[in-house]
C-alpha cells in the first residue's frame, strides 16, 4: 500500500516560497472563539513529493482510459478528448458565474436544452440537477408543486420492483409513500398488479425504460394512458437512455417528466471522475415549476429569468455543473443525429452479441433480445463450484477487465449485469467473453484460484466486511516520532 500524504514529507518541507509581505500587518477583529488554537496538521511536502505521490496513485486507477469497463447501468463509454478540448477553452474556464460577460455560456445552456428537447421529446429542460438521483428528486419536487397548485393531495408513488434504489429513496425524500409494482416472469412490469394499484391517490409512477434488466417495456404507451386516466404523472428514469437515441423519444411515449444522465449517455466523465449532471425534461404543464433561473433567448441576447413565482426554487449552486454541460454539447454536436442513432444501434448490438457468447456458460434468466445491457445469473455456478459472482468479479480484474455490476437488480440471484457500450470494438468484446469463459472453467478446475482473486492487482482482495463493520474514517498518526507543532 502507498503511504498517505500525511505520512510522507517532513516538517518544513514546502512546495513554494512566498516573498516577504510588503503590506503592514493589521490587527484582525476575529472573535477569539473563531481563532484556531493550534495550527492545522496539514501535510508538509515539497512540490516533487506532492506530484509523485498523486501521479503514482493515479497510475493505479482502474478506469475507462486504461481498461474495458462493462459496468451495467452505468454506461461507462469512452469519453472523447474533443469534449475536454472544448471544456478547456479559456472563454469558459476564465468565466466567473456572476460575470456579466456571459453570453457564450448562456448560449451553451440554451442550445444544450434545445438539443435535449429534440432528442427526448420534451417541451423544456433544466440543466441544474447535479446527478441522476438529484434529477429524480427535482422531478418529484415539481410533481408535488404541480399537485399543490391544483389543491390536490396525492400521497403515493408507484415504483417497479426492479427499479434503481434511488427511485423509492427520492420519492420518500419528497414525503411520498412508496408502493412497489411486481415484475412478471419475463422481467417486465406486471400490468395486472400495476392496474390494481392505480387510483386517484397516485401522484406519480416512476418507470425506467428500458428497465434495469435491459428489457424494453413494450406496453409503455398503454401504461401512460392508464396513469393519466387517474390523473397521475408518468416519470421516466433516463438511466438507460443509451438504448433510445434517435429511435424512441420518451416524451412521445407518454412520459411527463424525465431525467437523463449526461455522464452516462453523453460521454462526460464519471466513476470518481465526475461530477455528474442529471438534466430534467418536462412537458408544458410543468414549465412554471422548473428550478430558477431559466435562460431566455431575446433579440437583445440571452438572459437569465429569475422571476418565476411558481418555481420550486434553486436546487444547485449557480446553474448546475457547467463544465459537464460543455462536454455533453460537444459530444452531441460531434456525433450529430446520425451519430447518436449509431450509438444506440451499436450499444444494443454489442449487448446482444455478448449475451449470445456467454449464455451457454451462465444462466440467462430473460432470453428475449435485450437492449443496451443484459443480466446473467451465477446461481448455477455457485451451486456447482462454490464460486460466487463476487469472486468472478474479482478474477476479471486479473484479466484486465473491470467487473460488470454485481448483485443488482436484486430480483436475479448472483446477478451479473453487463453493459458493453458502443465504444468497444469486436476484438475487445471477444477478449472479455473469453476471459469470462476462462473464469467459468477455472471455477470448476481450480476454484481456489478464483476464490482468492485478484492476484495481479496492486492490492489483493479487501476485507469489505471489516471495512463496513469497523470503518476508519479519520487519519490518526501511527508514528509519533515526527511530532507536529
Amino acid at each position: 500500500m502507498n503511504k498517505l500524504i500525511f505520512e510522507i514529507g517532513k516538517i518544513g518541507h514546502q512546495g513554494l516560497s512566498l516573498p516577504a509581505s510588503d503590506v503592514p500587518e493589521q490587527e484582525m477583529s476575529i472573535p477569539g472563539n473563531y481563532i484556531r488554537a493550534e495550527a492545522a496538521q496539514l501535510p508538509e511536502v515539497s512540490e516533487p513529493e506532492l506530484i509523485r505521490h498523486y501521479t503514482v496513485l493515479s497510475q493505479k486507477n482502474f478506469c475507462v482510459d486504461t481498461h474495458y469497463y462493462p459496468l451495467g447501468s452505468c454506461t461507462m463509454k469512452y469519453n472523447p478528448r474533443i469534449n475536454e478540448d472544448m471544456a478547456r477553452l479559456s472563454g469558459f474556464t476564465s468565466l466567473h458565474p456572476l460575470s456579466k460577460f456571459n453570453q457564450g455560456a448562456l448560449q451553451l445552456i440554451y442550445e444544450l436544452e434545445q438539443d435535449l428537447k429534440e432528442i427526448f421529446g420534451f417541451d423544456a429542460f433544466t440543466l441544474q440537477p447535479a446527478a441522476g438521483a438529484h434529477g429524480e428528486l427535482v422531478s418529484l419536487m415539481m410533481v408535488k408543486a404541480y399537485f399543490q397548485s391544483r389543491n390536490e393531495k396525492r400521497k403515493t408513488v408507484l415504483v417497479p420492483q426492479s427499479a434503481h434504489g434511488t427511485n423509492p429513496a427520492s420519492a420518500s425524500m419528497c414525503g411520498f409513500q412508496v408502493i412497489e409494482i411486481a415484475s412478471q416472469e419475463d422481467g417486465t412490469i406486471d400490468l395486472v398488479d400495476l392496474k390494481s394499484k392505480l387510483n386517484t391517490d397516485i401522484a406519480a409512477v416512476m418507470i425506467t425504460n428500458p428497465n434495469t434488466l435491459g428489457l424494453f417495456e413494450k406496453n409503455i404507451m398503454e401504461v401512460a394512458e392508464w396513469v393519466h386516466n387517474v390523473g397521475g404523472i408518468l416519470y421516466g428514469d433516463g438511466a438507460n437512455s443509451n438504448a433510445l437515441l434517435g429511435k424512441a423519444r420518451p416524451g412521445d411515449l407518454g412520459f411527463d417528466l424525465m431525467h437523463v444522465n449526461l455522464h452516462k449517455t453523453f460521454s462526460t466523465p464519471h466513476g470518481g471522475g465526475g461530477p455528474g449532471s442529471g438534466p430534467v425534461g418536462v412537458k408544458k404543464q410543468f414549465i412554471p415549476f422548473l428550478p430558477r433561473p431559466i435562460v431566455l433567448k431575446k433579440e437583445s441576447g440571452y438572459e437569465f429569468d429569475f422571476d418565476r413565482p411558481q418555481s420550486i426554487g434553486k436546487i444547485k449552486g449557480f446553474y448546475g455543473n457547467f463544465g459537464v454541460l460543455i462536454r455533453a454539447l460537444a459530444y452531441i454536436r460531434a456525433s450529430g443525429p446520425d451519430g447518436l442513432k449509431w450509438v444506440t444501434e451499436q450499444a444494443v448490438l454489442s449487448a446482444n452479441y455478448l449475451k449470445e457468447k456467454l449464455k451457454n456458460y451462465w444462466e440467462l434468466p430473460y432470453s428475449q433480445p435485450c437492449m443496451h445491457e443484459f443480466v446473467l445469473s451465477g446461481e448455477k455456478l455457485e451451486r456447482e463450484t462454490g464460486i460466487k459472482t463476487l469472486d468472478v468479479a474479482k478474477r476479471l480484474l486479473d484479466y484486465g477487465f473491470h467487473a460488470p455490476t454485481v448483485y443488482f437488480p436484486m430480483t436475479v440471484k448472483e446477478c451479473l449485469m453487463i453493459e458493453p457500450t458502443e465504444t468497444e470494438n469486436r476484438e475487445t468484446l471477444d477478449a472479455f467473453a473469453q476471459a469470462m469463459i476462462k473464469i467459468y472453467q477455472e471455477s470448476h478446475e481450480n476454484p481456489d484460484l478464483v476464490k482468492n482473486a485478484p492476484h495481479n492487482t496492486p492490492v489483493s482482495r479487501f476485507d469489505e466486511v471489516k471495512a463496513a463493520r469497523n470503518p476508519i474514517l479519520k487519519y490518526s498518526p501511527i508514528n509519533e516520532s515526527q511530532p507536529r507543532e
Partner: protein, 125 residues
Amino acid sequence: MNPDDLKFSKSHEWVKLEGNVAIIGISDYAQHELNDIVFVELPEIGKQISAGGEFGVLESVKTASDLYSPVSGEVLEVNSELENSPDLVNKEPYGKGWIVKLQLSNPSELDSLLNHTDYQNLLKG
C-alpha cells in the same frame, strides 16, 4: 433455539412464542442470502408494529433489506448487542442473533405462519 419450535413467514423471519411475547429474528436461509451483515437498524421500544409492517433494516456488504414483522404488537425489547456485533445474525440466527421482542396483540396471526418443514419446502420451491 431449535428451528423446529419456530414459526416462519414467507419473507424469511421467524417467531418464537414465550407466553404473550413474540421473539423475532431472520432464518438461516435469509442470513446466508444476505451475506455478512454489517449493520442492524432496530426499532424504538414502545413502537406499535402491525403484521407485515417494517420494523427495521439489515445492511450487508451485498444489500440493504427491510425487516417485516410476521405478527402485530408493541416493541418490548430490542437486541442491543447487535449494534456492536451485527455478525451475531449470521452466526446464530436462531439464538443470540434474535432481533426484537414484541408484546403480541393478536395471537391468532401465528396460525397463518409456516412451521419449519413447510418453510423448508417453500425454499425448495
